[in-house]
Symmetry: C2
Subunit: 236 residues, 2 copies
């Protein structure tokens, strides 16, 4: 395991209490920010007043998306987006997950990574969960990025709802996974900035696979009920 | 695959519409009905007016539990409980899952099986999802019981809440998985009999693993927040 409870790279965050983390002052970079999920998260976070930069393989496409969304967003190559960010959300398709992370590995050292990728397969019967060799997309990220602070969150959000300007608040809980309390607290604080969303700590990265795979069930639910289903945790 | 869309063994159910299924007239057997989860489900279902029989390896222990719970419950050996049931809920520990099902395989032919077993491991860092060779407990049941109608549900319920007589309604959604619409409709109708619970179709058995494994995340949530968390599906 490459995880420690208090990484030497984040003394400031490790000292801050759960309520005191000033996530509002941090810049969030979104890798794969031109895809539906990335666009949606950029739109919601920037709309909540967060400073957000969009990364893409092609800087021009990122700039195009940023210009379309407005809200002070800027677009860059993935590597430049990471350089400008304190927190990096990974929303690339599963097929490009490992390659994208390898490309920006050095720039991610010491930074907070939020993996939101769901490894899924599709056939005539619908969607099903894929099982990465490392156990999950989040564990693959942790294995590829030993110097970054890898967490996982934002798996169960409908891109349709995220990008709908008619919807002010999306009432949903966001399961947050990670090895380090200061990091998961920071991710929860970031989630809580988005109207309607609430970040819930939901375990270590070794329990990320079932959270990622649950999207296959949400797709089945959406097909059956013709809705955009999300997850809420009852009883908290 | 041994599943078909319209099993020849259930002409009556296959003809009935989703709303017309008369689940109230069926007897529910609970294998492992002396454990906390089985006791809790027996208590809730019998309390809702369902005819319920409790099965256990030792008939005396099942009779003891039935007498303690009251509500017209009776206790039997596992095999006798299956013989008396139309619907069988499996709530045995994962370690005894395969052995119990093999023992009652013939008696389960043609019957509706609801697997609720969560294969979990535990160590000093908490709970984690185990991955059965067949993919999930539910798929193991389907492989062992080619003549039964295997579904999966009731994974995320707190035994503490289920057995608490002070709690009248448990507000939670129950994810229901299966290959056959008539069977999953029947399971949803059974879930809906329990005050506060709502059955939601959530996909085929190949997507059962992440539903079973999510209990590891609920255990992490319960540890962090000192609650008995459940799952709700938002947006339906």
């Amino acid at each position: 395991m490459s995880f420690t409870d208090t990484p030497a790279t984040t003394p400031k965050l490790a000292q801050a209490g759960p309520g005191a983390l000033d996530v509002a002052q941090q810049t969030v970079g979104i890798l794969g920010g031109t895809g539906p999920q990335g666009r949606g998260l950029a739109y919601r976070l920037a709309g909540a007043g967060q400073r957000v930069v969009i990364g893409s393989r092609a800087a021009e496409r990122a700039q195009e998306t940023a210009a379309q969304l407005g809200l002070g967003l800027t677009g860059h190559s993935n590597i430049e987006a990471v350089r400008r960010s304190d927190i990096v959300i990974v929303t690339v398709p599963w097929e490009g997950h490992a390659a994208t992370l390898k490309e920006v590995r050095e720039e991610l050292a010491g930074k907070l990574v939020i993996d939101s990728v769901n490894p899924l397969g599709f056939d005539s019967k619908g969607a099903y969960a894929l099982r990465p060799e490392e156990g999950s997309a989040a564990e693959q990220a942790a294995a590829l990025l030993p110097e970054a602070r890898v967490t996982a969150a934002f798996h169960h959000l409908s891109a349709t709802l995220l990008t709908d300007p008619e919807i002010d608040a999306i009432e949903t809980d966001v399961l947050v996974l990670g090895e380090n309390r200061a990091d998961t607290d920071l991710v929860q604080a970031l989630v809580d900035r988005i109207p309607g969303m609430h970040g819930i700590y939901a375990g270590r990265l070794r329990n990320a696979h079932q959270v990622e795979g649950l999207v296959a069930n949400l797709i089945s639910i959406n097909r059956r009920y013709k809705k955009h289903a999300g997850i809420l945790v009852a009883g908290l």
